[in-house]
Symmetry: C2
Subunit: 326 residues, 2 copies
């Protein structure tokens, strides 16, 4: 079935003269890399291509070939074909169906199982590790020469969504495609450097403070990192810079549960939770009115920091004790 | 040519009834994973296999299937076939040729370009990212069923020697093999967790102290991390635990050169150096009587810590200034 849909989508793109591509807010490597890879491929076929993302491009993706072509304004007028990349629904682009001309053909290319099938043609492959894998298949169907620029974008898409081939969404097909992308002569070591190896000083300073405020509890099974409001203020760091810091706590030997407590203000504490092998952090987060998955969840506690820490430690230790008795 | 050698080696192994495998001192994921992968494959062919490594197995590799079979004593008596895995020369096993019976057949399987061809049959492929790639080819030649246990070992070998498909030794063939290994049903996410995600508490404590003693110099281009003798003593950490910490300095945005100064004692300072894109750290290391490569080098300064820091900063700033004027 995917095959028929794939051919249909390729056929529509072949016929088109103008195409607009859309990718989601809070853009990541997969949506930007997939959009650029496909955009450059369509340009190579002589199409007029418009690429849209409403948000700033993350700094670690600013090296991507063609990134300067991405527009933050909607196309005016809309072309006949609107193609959505890596978007589960139109809310991910902060758009409503009514914005588009009634005769628009909406194409929907995604790997999220929760995709809402909002397009006229929906190519959804939840087996793909990244939308970049689907774009790769589409470009092969379109018979476009895989240039270094296209391959760099698709490799980045796959690299970021698989955590460098680490996350469990990676398949043998992912590796096969990565190998074929490498054959186009991309400088993949440089891509890794751009994507992963450029830590802002403010982030390392947050890590330094986080490590100074790291507590190892519950006989080494629970690691809790704390960042105060003044930490962010003194560094001049956005709250989003704290992302990923929790992994330094989670990956400690012997640790099963990790928490990062971010003091938003004197009575609002944002809590991120991670676990490694068996502990259900979603249960903890739900208990405090938040949610997420078994291995990654979050909640917000409306109380002073010390109180929040005490409550969280208590609850985690309780659940750890239950787990151990199973 | 490699083909003829490969068939020869496979033929000798097919004929043998007993084989001893050797891997190098200070073992890493490639030598242990390759030895175990091949050892299990030869056992599957009904051979009696002896696996030798003189050193303790690193903790992050202790999960490898078959690891309990590795012996720290030399085989007595030596079997007819001695196969060396991932060893450039016999010094890497701390052995001399004279130890072996005169009629031993020595097989040499390696991917290091500097390999000394010390065997009777030498299968050296410097294009292979890891010896694990060569073992994979050998196992295919031997027509052994790729079990999960064998695949787990070979995947680990490749994973560690490529830094999770990041280092420039990675090729499209590496990805192709990784994909084929995954098809045997290995739990690769668990392998990543075992290999990379279990930081000893002492290591995180070293990082904490290293970050507290990090200096950003030369307008942000040079990051110098320092660890005192008392840091190691107070934590009870081996010097080797400091490995990798320098990457936190190297990957800082804007940094071109990074140094880690380890105070061995009050007059011996061990210096690790790394660079990102153009700076030749080998030049700095050589200047101080050390050596290495352009992007990774080291030296030892026989003087008090403060003096060593001063000298190093001066020399690095000098070279950075020269570089900038090019």
């Amino acid at each position: 079935m995917t095959n028929r849909i794939a051919y249909q989508m390729a056929e529509e793109l072949r016929k088109a003269s103008k195409v607009a591509l859309f990718s989601h807010v809070s853009p990541d490597g997969d949506c930007i890399g997939s959009m650029l890879g496909l955009g450059l491929a369509l340009e190579a076929l002589g199409k007029e291509v418009y690429m849209y993302n409403s948000d700033p491009i993350p700094r670690n993706l600013s090296f991507l070939p063609g990134v300067e072509k991405i527009q933050t304004e909607l196309p005016a007028p809309f072309p006949e074909i609107l193609l959505f990349v890596d978007c589960t629904d139109l809310q991910r682009v902060k758009l409503e169906n009514e914005v588009f001309p009634a005769d628009s053909l909406i194409l929907n290319l995604d790997h999220h199982i929760s995709n809402q099938n909002f397009g006229h043609i929906n190519w959804i492959d939840s087996q793909a590790s990244a939308t970049g894998e689907i774009v790769y298949a589409l470009i092969r169907l379109l018979d476009v020469n895989l240039t270094q620029d296209i391959a760099t974008n698709l490799y980045t898409a796959i690299l970021t969504d698989t955590g460098s081939f680490k996350y469990s969404n990676t398949t043998s097909k992912t590796h096969q495609i990565a190998g074929e992308l490498m054959d186009s002569g991309i400088n993949f070591a440089d891509i890794h450097h751009h994507v992963f190896d450029r830590t802002p000083q403010a982030k390392l300073e947050l890590l330094r403070r986080g490590l100074n405020q790291l507590q190892i509890l519950a006989q080494g099974q629970f690691a809790m990192m704390t960042l105060h409001k003044f930490d962010f203020e003194e560094i001049g760091a956005e709250e989003s810079l704290g992302e990923g810091l929790i992994d330094h706590a989670r990956t400690l030997e012997g640790v099963e549960v990790a928490a990062l407590m971010k003091e938003v203000n004197s009575s609002v504490i944002r809590v991120s939770l991670r676990s490694n092998r068996w502990f259900d952090v979603n249960k903890i987060a739900s208990h405090f009115g938040g949610g997420g998955h078994k291995r990654a969840a979050g909640c917000t506690l409306d109380m002073p920091l010390e109180e929040a820490q005490k409550l969280l430690v208590q609850k985690v230790e309780e659940e750890l004790a239950l787990g151990r008795s199973c």
